[in-house]
């Protein structure tokens, strides 16, 4: 049995960050990655990337470049009157005036209110500590409010509400606590790259993280799927791989969801029946699908002011409808999704013919059912729905599509053996310690589900490493 100081399970953003942080502190770290390529879910625009990570791990020196910074949030409307929400408050207000004079006049104030709340919530993300008690009253109220009601409370225009509702997509807009997600997103933007979202040039984010990990001295092992954890007297002592090989380490970091880690890897060790049942229940029935369209030329996309995160949703009720059907295991009639167009890019993946220039459209469709009840071919249906909706905006899209790549949520679940944890307003206000630690000594969670609300920030990996280094070594 070979030994090291720490094992990190999962080669996604958080896994790489945790491994690098540990290695930089002088630990011998082994990163176990189940698949071949690394980088996990890093193809998304990064609105929440932790700037400390960029600085500490010197990601820019390892090749991280951005094709777009400060991407505005653009709500696409069928009538061509798109909603553009950018950092420029005045420009946004001017744009909103088309939809509602009241919203336009109010925008500055609303933005200020939102950011004031976000400043209070920021500590949940930024510090290891909790929310300052003086402001809890306001945040508690949001914890009981649905995002839909919150938006109705503040805005008049359907178009604006539908666009903003995307930020709360993790919970149904009728669910109590989903209003907190809107503030949460603002808080992340505030702490993140100090702007709206940024789109990394293709693969440079994952590449930079891998390079940083390598530079820090992390041993990366691909195709090493973990079968279970080895435990002695309630503490983790190592892992066993699918191949039967065992690795010993006093510290194990898992990027899998809490349920998958504790139930599948740790076999429910240290949990009583109630906790076990609770974990089984929290597994979400809905997920997100990533769809990558590869195009041979730039499609005609008229009337859109520049690049940004594009949201396709008729109104905020369509999020609720999508949630309801996804939970019942059906594909939403009218999918809501976000897409970005990173522009020209080098060919991606192995399935692509090696040609010089490709355009791509990256779509994130949420919520979709994890496992459709009617047994439809989920992947092709997802792609067909997305393309049909996009075609209304880009009439010549179909002529240019040369490749479609769908990552359905069900595939991820089958891989992890457990779904992501469902959205829970309580988790948002809980402190990092409770999200990162487990009942098993030496076992830490550092995946997206340890984050207050799922987003790629690398924060979970960093905090888990920090806490472990501080208290348990």
């Amino acid at each position: 049995m070979s030994g090291c100081d720490a094992i990190v399970i999962g080669g996604g953003v958080n896994g790489l960050v945790a491994a690098s942080c540990l290695a930089r502190a002088g630990k011998r770290v082994v990163l176990l990655h189940a698949g071949g390529a690394q980088g996990g879910n890093s193809a998304q625009p990064l609105y929440a990337l932790d700037p400390t990570i960029v600085a500490d791990l010197q990601l820019t020196r390892h090749g991280l470049t951005f094709v777009a910074r400060d991407m505005p949030l653009i709500g696409l409307r069928a009538d061509g009157r798109h909603v553009v929400i950018s950092r420029d408050v005045n420009a946004t207000a001017r744009n909103l005036a088309v939809h509602s004079q009241i919203d336009a006049e109010d925008w500055c104030r609303q933005r200020r209110d939102l950011w004031a709340l976000a400043r209070d919530l920021r500590s949940v993300w930024w510090d290891v500590g909790a929310v300052p008690p003086r402001r809890c009253e306001q945040l508690d109220r949001l914890q009981r409010l649905g995002a839909g009601a919150w938006l109705d409370f503040r805005f008049e225009s359907e178009a604006l509400k539908a666009t903003l509702a995307w930020d709360a997509v993790a919970g149904s807009p009728f669910a109590a606590g989903s209003a907190l997600l809107l503030v949460w997103r603002a808080a992340q933007e505030m702490c993140g790259l100090q702007g709206a979202s940024a789109m990394p040039a293709s693969n440079t984010f994952a590449g930079a993280l891998s390079a940083a990990a390598e530079h820090a001295g992390v041993t990366v092992r691909a195709n090493a799927r973990v079968a279970d954890l080895l435990m002695e007297r309630g503490a983790v002592v190592g892992v066993r791989l699918d191949s039967g090989e065992t690795l010993a380490a006093p510290l194990v970091f898992s990027t899998l969801p809490r349920g998958a880690t504790l139930l599948r890897l740790a076999h429910g060790e240290g949990l009583d029946a109630t906790e076990r049942a609770a974990l089984e229940r929290t597994a979400s029935r809905i997920g997100a699908a990533d769809i990558l369209l590869t195009l041979d030329a730039k499609p005609a996309f008229e009337g859109v002011p520049g690049n940004g995160r594009f949201v396709v949703a008729p109104n905020w009720e369509s999020f609720a409808a999508a949630h309801a059907s996804a939970r019942a295991g059906r594909m939403p009639d009218e999918p809501v999704f976000e897409f970005v167009m990173p522009g020209k890019s080098a060919p991606l993946g192995d399935a692509m013919p090696a040609q010089a220039e490709r355009y791509s459209i990256r779509i994130r469709m949420e919520p979709v059912p994890l496992f459709p009840v009617d047994g439809t071919d989920e992947k092709s249906l997802l792609a067909a729905k997305a393309i049909a909706a996009l075609q209304r905006l880009m009439p010549d899209l179909l002529r240019h599509v040369v490749g479609v790549n769908v990552r359905a949520p069900g595939a991820i679940v089958e891989h992890d053996g457990c779904a992501e944890d469902a959205f829970d307003g309580n988790r948002l206000l809980a402190d990092w310690r409770s999200r990162v630690s487990t009942p098993i000594a030496g076992l830490f969670l550092c995946g997206v589900s340890a984050e207050p609300a799922s987003a790629v920030s690398g924060r979970a990996g960093r905090i888990a490493a920090q806490l472990a280094l501080r208290g348990h070594l």
Partner: protein, 489 residues
Amino acid sequence: MRYDAAIIGAGANGLAAATALARAGLTAIVIERSDRAGGRLSTREFHPGFRASPFLDELAPIPQDIFWSLGLAQRGADLMPAPVSLALWPDRLNLLRAGGQSGAAALLALSAALAAEALAHALGEAERQPQKRLFFRPQPMPWPGVEAMLPSLNEILMRRDLDPDTAAHVAAIALSGRAADPFLPGGGVHLLAPGAGMGGMVAGGFGKLADALVRAARDAGAQIVYGLDASGIAHANDRLTGVTLADGSFVAARAVISTLDLKRTFLSLFSRNELPVPVARQVDNFRMAGSTARVLFAIERAPAMATAEALRGPIYVSPDLEGFAAASMSWRAGRIAPKLPVTLRIPSLMDPSLAVPGGAVMTATFGAVPHRPADGAWTREMRDVLRDMALGALESVMPGMAGRVSAAEIIVPGDMEDAFGTTAGDLWGGEIAADQMLDLRPWPDCPRTLLKGLYLGGSSAAAGPLATCAAGIAAARAVSADLKRGKLS
């Protein structure tokens, strides 16, 4: 004469408030728009020889101390405890005995206890002096029940390890007549606002309770005037001076308790430009939407049912969590779902005087019925759809019964709005949701409002959905406390 308190609306809350104030030695007048007291507590003849309570079959409980302090028992009101309830699926049924030993009964008992605790807190808050905003405001005491209601109803049921049938049965009890999605976080709050099967019935119909409340108020020395419509609240220099009536007369009062719902209080008694912007916003954003429809059936020659104890309580037809979720979605979109949750009752089994000898009165209560359908107004055909659904449910419980129905009356949310004036026919005075309950209903200083001297004492107030009469009592206590402190001139 200048009254200490004028109360708008002679429903259960208004009458209870008047009684409490008069008992405290204050002069109180109740102003009622219609020519009878009771509001939704009414029993009327809907077919010759057949009587029913058109709006409800069961009352949120009246807390014991309030019931006895108002002296309702001595004045002829006889509350009957909740009977067994029956949940019925096409192929099986589930019986739930109130106060039994099962996990479901324990959950209902716990919810009732939490609601009682929350109510005690609300009554305490009403008497407490509102705190001034100085440099900082001390952290308010958290309300009991706030933590318990944050998860979804489904989550709460699963935590109790109930079998699926019993869980669906409890959900049907909590959601009867409502339009809520049991899977949405925050839905646990429905257990705090008692639904059917958690409250009580009144022997002789709800009209009897209304009569007892009127007698209690009269005996205490409160004045009740009928047929007068309050049209406005008069105020000068941020202080309230009285109530103006539709006929042009004026009732001077030091305090006014409105038992109208929040929207009607502020939108019909004030003109829009009188309202400060934050109040107007809060009133606008308070969600009120009717979700209940009722069908009353008169059955001339009913088969013998007297021995069937299980039929005395509510009978839930096809209650299943997914069904509630689907119905709720349709309701939000302004449509009637193909399958609505139904609660059937046979009030004449409990109270034979409601029907002609040998006959029976049955009621069907639907949840998730939109107040205003997306495609326009309520039509004759849509009402008939409801009637046929009710007949179908009836037939599934007692085959052959549908053929014996001799008359049916259909009551949709709009009818309820017309009958007793609650906005959009909302029976709970505002959607039951996590952000509209307890300390946030409708705002933290309830029953006080921003206008000094105006109090909310109806179902939109914090205590409103928790128990019958409670919101009126809370408002009355706030008024007496403020008068005693000299807060009202």
